[in-house]
């Protein structure tokens, strides 16, 4: 065991020296080896110190059962923090963990330099840990049910944030903040939960916006660093196999590692090393695709647009502009709808009026009706949401248990 750890420390040291020499600049690194179950837990919670909630238990269960079925294998989890925490699987081979170390060093460089991460809380591990402790206290004091019920509701709206909060932000754009400031009669513990969930959502948001860019960046560098290392032949083969698996196309959906890595390789080929480092600092997924996707890449990666036609899902377009536009559209706002809080005193009755910023894509009605109940749980008075369905303006109203809709 100790010898394995020494060998891994040696490999990681070399990885980091090579990364530094290549121009990567990252936070001090803290590597933790942990058993698979613990890694799945962190993967499900997104953070080793997050509060307890059944939805994370569900995510953990899914990750673990997929791993048992051999469908997915998490190799690492890396935290946007200073120092940067990276969790490695103790059952990984030396080569696997060497590759993972190279991968996470590039993530740490990305966290440190990408513009979207500049305002993020680098001490979030402690912030979340303190919140988790307060949730435990609330549960002990008030009972599990009311706290869990409020967490359910809070989590349902917490992703409805303005990703760029500040004086210039549009009023009502941040539903979580609107509720926090104006929901009548919130208890202190509810205010704390809502504001903490919002803070966590703000912390995770840049990671959602840069999935392709960040994974592409890390994949590009783990490959370069390992290729430079003097590996024994068996390890070289294992590395080639692992890297090929990372870059394989996903049967349903898009593999961010594949698209990101190829995009960045082509940027460097076209514009040079300096531009590569600039792109990692100034782009997000949306701007990366919009600015740099080329017809050649679309063809090389066999990208296509698909949609349902006559009950069957089929390829509808392969042209690069169609692909680019569809991809930008699905990445826009992390694929989430825009919900604006328009009125906190609708009909002069203290009712909440929300409006969906409809731009051609309808809301999922099942999700909508259930989510309105969650909003009502926080607002505790009737909640309305205006959207467009089948080309007609439609108002959904939740007065508690029931949700009704009518055309406007």
């Amino acid at each position: 065991m100790a010898r394995d750890l020494d060998r891994l420390a040696g490999a990681i040291g070399e990885v980091m020296d090579r990364a530094r020499a290549a121009g990567l600049d990252f936070f001090p690194m803290r590597y933790e080896l942990c058993p698979p179950d613990v890694l799945y837990t962190f993967g499900a919670y997104g953070m080793p110190t997050r509060f307890s909630h059944w939805s994370f238990g569900k995510a953990y269960y899914l990750l673990r059962s997929q791993a048992n079925l051999g469908l997915a294998k998490i190799y690492e989890l890396v935290i946007n923090s200073d120092p940067c925490y990276a969790f490695l699987l103790e059952s990984n081979s030396l080569l696997e963990n060497t590759l993972v170390a190279a991968h996470v060093v590039a993530h740490a460089d990305f966290f440190k330099h990408n513009w979207r991460f500049q305002g993020t809380n680098r001490q979030m591990v402690h912030t979340m840990s303190a919140f988790a402790e307060r949730v435990r206290l609330y549960e002990a004091r008030l009972g599990r049910e009311p706290v869990e019920r409020f967490l359910d509701a809070g989590l349902a709206v917490a992703e409805q944030i303005d990703p760029f909060p500040g004086p210039r932000s549009e009023p009502g754009r941040d539903l979580a903040l609107f509720l926090l400031e104006r929901a009548p009669g919130l208890a202190d513990w509810q205010r704390d939960i809502l504001s903490s969930l919002r803070e966590e959502a703000l912390y995770f948001r840049p990671q959602m916006e840069t999935k392709i860019l960040n994974e592409g960046w890390a994949t590009l560098w783990h490959a370069r660093i390992l290729r430079e290392m003097d590996l024994p032949p068996a390890d070289t083969l294992e590395f080639a196999r692992l890297h090929a698996a990372v870059l394989g196309p996903h049967p349903h959906g898009l593999n961010p590692y594949r698209l990101g890595c190829h995009l960045l390789e082509s940027i460097e080929a076209r514009y040079g090393r300096e531009r590569l480092f600039e792109v990692r600092a100034v782009e997000t997924d949306v701007s990366l695709v919009r600015n740099y996707l080329t017809p050649e890449l679309c063809e090389q990666l066999n990208l296509y647009v698909y949609a349902e036609q006559g009950g069957q899902w089929q390829v509808t377009a392969t042209g690069w502009e169609a692909v680019r536009d569809a991809l930008v559209r699905q990445l826009e706002n992390c694929g989430l709808p825009y919900i604006f809080a328009e009125d906190d005193n609708y009909r002069q009755q203290g009712e909440l009026y929300l409006r969906h910023g409809y731009d051609g894509i309808e809301l999922d009605v099942t999700h909508l009706t259930h989510t309105l109940r969650h909003v009502h749980h926080i607002w505790r008075r009737p909640v309305h949401l205006e959207t467009v369905l089948g080309g007609r303006r439609t108002l959904y109203t939740c007065t508690g248990k029931d949700v009704t809709s009518r055309a406007l």
């Binding site: 750890l5 613990v38 059944w54 992703e159 959906g253 296509y304 692909v323």
Partner: protein
């Protein structure tokens, strides 16, 4: 020493159980939701059709994390392939892609809901039967039906060599040798030998007999029969949780009664009038011939749409009382799906239910009125009332 500073460590994570604990909470939430939906689940045809299978797929929409989401169904999304594709080529099975599309955010992982719809029948039974009870159980005179088995319970110094207990024999040898200050395995002696011996035990085996009677005349349509079948399915399963064996008899009647196979019983229809006393008579004869009441736990249930020849009513009541004297429980389920009854709540037709409720008052007689599938669960609870509701629930 490498130039770039870093730390690498391995902690003791053995007490880290947050994931498991929250998953248990998730499972508990699923069970709560299932419990809240039992009335719908019980009448689900998939379960009845699944007889024999261990897991049923149920359309229970629970434990989904609801958010504001876009409906990507009609919107083109981007996919990738390992080789060139062309327009018009199918990409994935519709349900998979629909699932992927319905989920919205591109950052989310696949496989969101699949475990929500699978439920082990056993687990469902556990929930369903948790608060049902078998009321009015009277101990049978003596346990006539017993099974014999052997239990290895004792160890002796004498016995047959086939049954030698090697472990204990060695232990004895070690003990003796060590006491004498010798190495532990310095020879085995006759006095070390130990033999296992057995006892014959007899355990009483509890058996139940379920007599299901049903009006199979023309007025009982397939919807009515489905309800009867569904109830029967759950009754048998419930009895099986309380008895080692449950024997079934299906007695169909119009004006005459006859025994049928289960499948035909619930599917085939006949024409003719209705004389339900014929079924009671048949059941009584069956009990007399095969199932002496002091040796068997008898359950008799009758399903009908409530119609009976008026002239047959006195006889039906009399025979039903005789059944009650012999059975642990007699139940009558009236299945009225005809819309005229629904439309006229104050209409009190002259049905078997009203007749029985007037004429028979007996702690072991239970009745239920079932107007549609959603009332199957309520009927089950009326037949086997939860301990606390027994007084109110019994017909």
């Amino acid at each position: 020493m490498p130039e770039t500073p870093f730390l690498i460590s391995r902690e003791d994570w053995s007490l880290h159980r947050q994931g498991q604990m929250d998953q248990e909470r998730h499972q508990a939430r699923i069970r709560e939701a299932i419990r809240a939906n039992l009335a719908d689940i019980v009448s689900d045809e998939a379960i009845i059709a699944s007889d024999g299978r261990k897991v049923v797929r149920l359309p229970i929409r629970v434990m989904k994390e609801y958010r504001f989401r876009l409906n990507w169904q009609k919107q083109g999304r981007v996919g990738e392939a390992g080789r060139p594709v062309s327009a018009g080529q199918p990409v994935a099975r519709s349900d998979e892609a629909a699932e992927a599309a319905g989920r919205g955010g591109p950052g989310e992982e696949a496989g969101e809901d699949w475990f929500e719809t699978d439920l082990a029948v056993e687990e469902l039974e556990e929930l369903l039967f948790a608060d049902l009870s078998l009321p009015h159980l009277e101990p049978r005179q003596e346990p006539h039906i017993t099974t014999q088995h052997h239990e290895w319970r004792d160890v002796r110094r004498q016995g047959i060599y086939a049954n030698i207990d090697k472990k204990r024999t060695l232990m004895e040898a070690i003990k003796r040798n060590r006491l004498a200050g010798r190495p532990p395995l310095a020879g085995l002696r006759r006095e070390d030998l130990r033999f296992r011996t057995w006892d014959d035990t007899e355990t009483p085996q509890a058996n139940a007999v379920l007599l299901v009677m049903m009006d199979t005349s023309g007025s009982m349509g397939s919807g009515e029969k489905y309800i009867a079948r569904s109830l029967c399915f759950w009754m048998v399963r419930f009895l099986r949780t309380r008895y080692d064996r449950v024997k079934l008899h299906f007695i169909a009647h119009t004006t005459e009664a006859r025994e049928m196979e289960e499948e035909a019983f619930f599917t085939r229809g006949e024409s003719g009038g209705t004389r339900c006393s014929s079924a009671y008579e048949y059941a009584l004869r069956l009990i007399e011939r095969q199932y002496p009441p002091d040796r068997h736990n008898l359950y008799a249930f009758h399903f009908s749409d409530g119609d009976n020849l008026i002239s047959d009513n006195p006889r039906a009541v009399a025979l039903l009382k005789q059944l009650l004297a012999r059975c642990a429980l007699v139940g009558y389920g009236q299945i009225e799906t005809q819309p005229q009854y629904m439309a006229m709540p104050y209409y009190q037709p002259n049905t078997l239910l009203t007749l029985y409720q007037q004429e028979i008052e007996h702690p072991r007689f239970v009745t239920a009125l079932i107007r549609d599938r959603s009332e199957i669960y309520a009927a089950l609870r009326a037949f086997f009332p939860p301990a606390g509701e027994r007084e109110r629930g019994a017909g």
